[in-house]
Amino acid sequence: MEPKIIKVSAIKNGTVIDHIPAGGAMAIVNFLKLAKDKTVMLGINFDSKKMGKKDVIKAEDKELTAAELNQVALFAADASVSIIRNFKIAKKFKIELPQTFLDIVKCPNPKCVTNQESVKTKFNLFKPKPLSIKCQYCERIFSREEIALK
């Protein structure tokens, strides 16, 4: 019998974020500062029946809230989240797109005031599918592909 290959170990307590678009995990770990003082395991480019390829994040001893996770909804809109306690799934939820995004993404418009002065960016959700957001300052609308986490 073929041995079962476990690519990322189970965690005793913490948060698992699954179904992240392939290549997106590192930006999320950095933005949420997950690796600041806790152990984080990453799975990059795993095969996925649902998505083709996916990333997975397992953050040990850290329970992320829905509010924290919704900040990264732009980059992992279909991600599923499990809170793990004593190796068991205690809670499961899906990331939800918020209506506003404060200080999360950089405005791609070089002539936006947020790229000229010390100002936190503010975007409103314009359309959920296909995803687009509108800068509250320069009023330009951007697709998911045009934006990057700060």
Binding site: K111, C112, V113, E117, S118, Y137, C138, E139, R140, I141
Partner: protein, 305 residues
């Protein structure tokens, strides 16, 4: 409907009813422009970019209503030249004035200024983004010439990519179910984000390369200058600068009620021969800026409701 201390930043912040309310008051001011209802009030006029009409009409609007004006027409003569940020400038100037008008080359500057003060901010144009008072005077002029605003056929020609006046006007006309015709070179087409907003609001629009394709259909031709100062690449500007010159012969088959509007300044895009025809309405349009700005200043300062 409450305009007291309201910021006038973007035409998209206003409902149809609010726009019509402003136009109603503008009509009253056109009949009686000299009313001392802003006596004792001070307007700060902060122009970080060149302006003739917007600055002078705001300044005149305030003065004809009995108010006073402070400010500048050239940021090079201010502490901006020393590196002072816009935010710091507003934090100081708002202590001297009751209302602030600002024109700035950076998009979102007026919105940022509004966050730094409780005093009303009026956006006189922020980069290629918005110019809401221009839009309101454009709507006032369209209403004046066509006796209505609903269901008109309106063409916009020239620089539709960088032209903030056409962006704002297209957004505003969505309230009034206009049918829009965009005429421009390929490199200066109406941006996708504006077209997407129009599609979202189910506003019909179509795109053309020549005015002759639609001249018989339209009630308003809104012409715009190809703006050299907005081009990141001057070579691209040189390729298109003379492509869209409106000639008298272009208006041969126009409807009798057609009016040609232009936010000005005009460089070479409208032949001078058109000025003497009933079609030309761009100078009257500029005059209407005074009355619309009087209405807005009076509303935000609480002198009228």
């Amino acid at each position: 409907m409450n305009f007291l201390n309201r910021d006038i930043i973007s035409i998209s912040d206003f409902t149809k009813e609010e726009i019509l309310h402003v136009l109603k008051h503008a009509k009253n001011f056109k009949q009686k422009p000299n009313q001392k209802i802003l006596d004792g009030k001070i307007m700060a006029s902060l122009f970080f970019e060149p302006s003739t009409r917007t600055k002078l009409s705001f300044d005149t609007a305030m003065k004809r209503l009995g108010g006073a004006v402070i400010g500048f027409a050239d940021a090079g003569m201010t502490s901006t030249a020393k590196g002072e940020t816009l935010q710091d400038s507003i934090e100081v100037i708002e202590k001297y004035a009751d209302v602030i008008v600002i024109r700035h080359p950076i998009e979102g500057a007026a919105r940022l200024a509004a966050e730094k003060t409780d005093k009303p901010i009026l956006n006189g144009g922020d980069g290629a983004n918005q110019h809401p008072t221009q839009t309101m005077l454009d709507l006032f002029t369209i209403q004046e010439t066509q006796k209505k605003l609903e269901g008109l056929n309106i063409a916009m020609m020239g620089d539709l990519k960088y032209g903030r006046t056409v962006h704002s006007l297209a957004q505003a006309l969505a309230h009034f179910k206009a049918k829009l015709y965009f005429i421009s070179p390929d490199s200066l087409k109406m941006p996708e984000h504006i077209k997407n907003e129009l599609k979202d609001k189910k506003i019909k629009f179509s795109e053309y390369k020549k005015i002759s394709d639609i001249i018989t259909k339209i009630d308003i031709l809104y012409d715009t200058r190809i703006q050299k100062e907005r081009f990141p690449d001057l070579y691209e500007y040189e390729k298109v600068k003379n492509l869209y010159i409106l000639k008298l012969s272009d208006l041969k088959n126009a409807k009798k009620n057609l009016r040609v509007l232009h936010p000005l300044p005009r460089v070479n895009e409208i032949e001078y021969a058109i000025d003497q025809t009933p079609y030309a309405y761009y100078f009257q349009q500029a005059a209407n800026g005074l009355y619309v700005r009087q209405a807005l200043l009076s509303l935000v300062l609480g002198a009228i409701k």
